[in-house]
Symmetry: C2
DNA sequence: CGGGAGATTGACTGATCTCAACCCGGGTGG
DNA sequence: CCACCCGGGTTGAGATCAGTCAATCTCCCG
């Protein structure tokens, strides 16, 4: 990928042919206030917090964000991740509610903000854009339903195997075939919905059994077939 | 409520001022094929099954439907309920995917079907309708996120208390202050995400402690405050 | 070199699941 | 009319998965 302007150029934000905004006309795109460059968030920084009013969309240009809820006892439950091309915060914006999740960069990230009023305008005047948003919401909904069933019915072992496979599919591998995404043991536990120690023990077991290889936070899947079997995934 | 025609009159289906279809003009409403009366489903009958192609919306006029996924070992996980005024099946329709849930009447129900093509048309030509659908999807999404966090982090006891409170809020009470909705112990277990026996034991405990009263499937909440406390619900 | 975050391991505990037996009421067929 | 069956509900005992607590280790950083 090559940028003729200093990266990241703001105009690129919404003109990507794969972005949610692809159905907007140039005139419509111009309605988005473009005074500022995309915001930079350093690894660890919060984009928005549970309970705050956000009133707008966050479009991720680059980086990886974890989106999580904080449970009763302060434990995080990671709901999903967002990466380049994804949007965040539309649920609260559309529902006119406070954010029900916290959003935190786990890699340095560039993010564009679009005010909620404008998005709502687009929904009303541009049917294709509305349909696009609906499809995104429905996709998330389907994933959430799967998630519910998994957590309710599968063992921690099954879920961890499944999460590893999902992380591979969602973020891919680096040039040494390690998972591209780097998570702490605690974060893994907060996806799976278990204790950190349980993740550690199970990862050790998978390593012992040669299903995976571990170098610190870097994880390589050695035998996806077995993991798939362990996870009881349908396909 | 009074019906001048024999109940249920089909025209009432979409003209209710509270229905999703309230933003449609009369001309638009006429696009919906209205040859048939709403479909009647007897308690226990399936409206659609996981894996089938449904391609349309089901609008519930009357009755209660349970919407569930079937897990790896055949155990049901109830995702949500639908009752009068709710729609079902829009996720698959919008996503052009097969149904990811099964939908079964737990009370005798009347349901209207609207073909998917027409709904998609409406999304594109009627911004208010699109927004309405988006809001429904976003509402479900928020609830699903809560659900995930609860199942991942709370104990069965906490979740059961929470479910009882939710059932009261969602379906209300009958004239003797029992929960309006009637579920088997197994169905309760399939909401909470636990074994039937666990639900039975915990219900007995709640009864012993005078938090609830039980007559077969009929449950009366005697002390909501305590249940609320047990559930660790935020409000 | 001290401090702190994250990772690991062991021991213990206990909530929850599974299995199995049994009960109860309603419906059915002989 | 009665015996039987069946789905749902209950209860008990035992097994176990997974969480908690605590100690230790390993880096990495200032």
């Amino acid at each position: 990928m090559k940028y003729t302007q200093s990266f990241p150029a703001f105009n690129n934000c919404f003109q990507d042919t794969k972005s949610v905004f692809r159905h907007l006309s140039n005139e419509e795109l111009e309605l988005i206030p473009q005074e500022q460059a995309p915001d930079f968030y350093k690894r660890g920084e919060i984009i928005y917090s549970e309970g705050s009013r956000i009133n707008g969309f966050y479009y991720v240009m680059k980086g990886i964000i974890k989106i999580y809820k904080t449970g009763f006892d302060g434990k995080e439950q990671i709901i999903r991740f967002a990466q380049a091309g994804d949007i965040m915060g539309f649920r609260s914006t559309i529902s006119n509610e406070l954010a029900c999740t916290t959003s935190r960069a786990i890699e340095d990230s560039y993010i564009c903000f679009v005010p909620g009023d404008i998005v709502k305008q687009f929904v009303k005047i541009n049917g294709n854009f509305a349909m696009e948003l609906l499809q995104i919401a429905c996709k998330e909904l389907g994933e959430a339903n799967d998630y519910i069933t998994d957590i309710a019915q599968k063992t921690v072992r099954e879920r961890l195997a499944e999460v590893l496979i999902h992380l591979k599919m969602e973020f891919g591998l680096d040039n040494e075939n390690f998972l591209q995404i780097s998570l702490t043991r605690e974060e893994l536990a907060n996806i799976v919905g278990t204790a950190t120690e349980s993740v550690i023990r199970l990862l050790s077991e998978f390593k012992q059994d040669k299903h995976i290889e571990i170098h610190g936070r870097r994880i390589k899947i050695l035998n996806e077939k077995v993991l798939l079997k362990i996870s009881n995934l349908p396909y």
